[in-house]
């Protein structure tokens, strides 16, 4: 066998669940401590990269990694919405149980390129998960970035993710957090309406700015439209992270192509200028 064949890219590392907590309706945060070589593989992954998480006996699915590496300590966070068979089985697991993890995969956000820019992070529902590493990066390196606005949305208050971190985000210098939900309850005292309405009200300036959006495809489409048509952003300034069902994460299974791009290796992070230039629509 040649050297290249010594590692099997389809074989996951083992990870032990060290914390499992409910963070929203049907959404749990899983903290995974990497074992047997996984620590080495994940020692310097980038915000926006993703990994396959296995529920052994059911299958594996890709998830955005929801934290940044801390002091080379390879403990990975995944915020997982219970939707299909793999996520349902993962929701049954508790502290001490094992999962499989393959990765890190994908290009990630070019955080170095964002240095010195004003950042607007726009998250919809569980789409907030891959944006949390961006928020953590800015907080940990506050002087590297300009004004920071977080626009956070969900269908209703019970679906907002990372609520226990909002005070910390708000306390960060030169940082704003704006919340909106489609349907409020009686305790809600923030905006009500779609994320596009919130963007129009907050009206971030396109001057020296970058937006970073994750959410359902239809939200990405309309967020970009508002930013470009109402606020004067260029599509090149609007970064998004796309999702696709995929089965390998290494550019082989064919599942995630969007025209000539493979979301797993060419993405999942693209600018809307790149997305707009593709043959095929993500919608």
């Amino acid at each position: 066998m040649t050297d290249k064949m010594k590692t099997n890219p389809m074989l996951p590392y083992l990870g032990k669940l060290v914390e499992v907590k409910d963070i929203a309706t049907e959404i749990k945060l899983f903290r995974v401590e990497m074992l047997n070589g996984g620590g080495e593989a994940f020692h310097d992954y980038k915000p926006g990269q993703f990994a396959f998480v296995s529920a052994f006996g059911v299958g594996e699915a890709p998830f955005g990694i929801a934290n940044i590496p801390t002091n080379g300590d390879a403990t990975l966070d995944f915020a997982i919405n219970r939707l299909g068979s793999v996520t349902t089985d993962l929701h049954e697991l508790g502290v001490g149980d094992m999962v499989g993890v393959r990765g890190p995969m994908g290009n990630g956000f070019p955080m170095d390129k964002f240095k010195g820019k004003n950042l607007i992070v726009i998250g919809g529902g569980i789409g907030g998960a891959p944006l949390r590493p961006v928020i953590q990066t800015v907080i940990a390196n506050r002087a590297d970035y300009g004004h920071f606005q977080i626009l956070w949305a969900a269908r209703n208050p019970s679906l907002l993710v990372f609520t226990d971190e909002y005070d910390n985000w708000r306390a960060t210098p030169d940082t704003e957090l704006h919340l909106t939900v489609d349907q409020a309850d009686n305790t809600w005292n923030h905006d009500v309406g779609l994320i596009t309405q919130l963007i129009e009200r907050v009206a971030p300036s396109p001057e020296n700015a970058i937006t970073i959006t994750c959410g359902p495809p239809i939200m990405i489409h309309f967020v970009n439209r508002v930013l470009v048509e109402k606020l004067g952003f260029m599509p090149e300034q609007n970064y998004v992270t796309l999702e696709a069902r995929m089965h390998c994460g290494i550019g082989k299974c064919g599942r995630c192509n969007l025209g000539t791009k493979l979301i797993c290796v060419d993405g999942p992070v693209f600018t809307m200028a790149e997305v707009g230039a593709l043959l095929e629509s993500f919608l």
Partner: protein, 334 residues
């Protein structure tokens, strides 16, 4: 030059079958399929094209990637790489070209897929040039030929009642040098069979993007049933799914296997994402993707065109979606 009579070749195959796993075209309930041979008398020598390609040997319809066992909270994983060597007799040139597209995907494009790479490394191909060209064959239009030895380890071409044998690679030499009928590596190309050449040009990849939004795809898709047989019989379609299956427990053991199985972009849920959104919900979008993959996306990503001109999809399609009709349209339209 190596020249073997039919009897000499049959005797050699017998020897090979005794010492190795020999896979050859067999008649299975009326279909020619490549299967392990127990009696070389059952080998079918005279056929135009097998129902399934040799892809099955290297990239099985379903294969195990690993075994998993849970004991309490602990999990053990066992990698299950394929073992053993085999020799395939009677490989057609189009199928060998199909393997070259898989080489580009699984071996030349890193990371290497160890399952495919191992099978490829441990398998020797004995090619058999086509003596006749099937009604739906169009290999010569995609760069192949009925006697093309590309990708073979040994190439046999029928001639004057016997066979001309070209020993092309070291692997081919290894399985032939023990037998006195061969006299070493040959340098002589056997005479070619007469290939019927259709008036069809495969449009270069540059012309494809301008055809993306044409009504043609919707018209073609009106017939399509999304049955996916085209991908199933294709020697170069490679889409796969990965999932786990629970194994019957022995003594209460909690064991499961991770499998990889063939898939097709023509299936409705293929591109569906969490939350139910499906950017390829329409049949014409899926049908278009298959052809764009073969002649535009795959060449961009991995190099070769993902079509060998075998024509299996044309014969298998229940509603006559014809890949040569698609190529004709894309090449013709200005």
């Amino acid at each position: 030059m190596n020249y073997l009579t039919h009897q000499e070749l049959a005797a050699w195959l017998d020897r090979l079958a005794q010492e190795h796993t020999l896979i050859a075209p067999l008649d299975i309930a009326g279909n020619i399929l490549y299967r392990p041979v127990s009696d070389t008398k059952e080998v079918v020598w005279d056929f135009v094209r097998s129902f399934m390609s040799v892809k099955e040997v290297f990239f099985p319809p379903t294969e195990r990637l690993m075994l998993m066992e849970k004991i309490g909270q602990q999990v053990t994983l066992t990698e299950t790489l394929p073992e053993g060597n085999s020799i395939i007799f009677g490989v057609r040139p189009c199928d060998a070209r199909g393997l070259l597209t898989f080489d580009a995907l699984f071996i030349e494009n890193e990371p290497v897929d160890p399952y495919y790479a191992r099978r490829r490394e441990n398998t020797t191909l004995i090619g058999l040039a086509c003596q006749s060209v099937g009604a739906s064959c169009f290999c010569t239009n995609v760069g192949g030929a009925p006697d093309d030895p590309t990708g073979m380890d040994i190439m046999l071409t029928a001639s004057n009642g016997g066979y001309v044998a070209e020993i092309i690679t070291e692997k081919g030499e290894k399985i032939s040098k023990k037998y006195p009928v061969f006299d070493g590596l040959s340098e002589i190309r056997p005479h070619p069979t007469h290939a019927r050449k259709r008036e069809l040009k495969v449009p270069p990849k540059e012309v494809w993007p301008a055809r993306f939004n044409d009504d043609f795809w919707a018209e073609m898709a009106e017939r399509c049933l999304s049955c996916r047989i085209c991908a199933y019989v294709c020697p170069s379609c490679r889409c796969f799914d990965v999932r786990d299956e629970v194994l019957p427990g022995e003594d209460g053991r909690n064991q499961s296997e991770r499998i990889r199985c063939w898939d097709s972009c023509n299936g409705i849920p293929y591109r569906r994402v969490a939350g139910g959104h499906n950017p390829r919900f329409m049949k014409n979008q899926r049908l278009r993707n298959r052809f764009f993959c073969k002649f535009y996306y795959f060449p961009i990503h991995y190099g070769p065109v993902s079509c060998t001109g075998c024509g299996r999809c044309i014969d298998a399609c229940p509603v006559n979606v014809d890949i040569t009709e698609v190529l004709g349209y894309v090449g013709r339209r200005k």
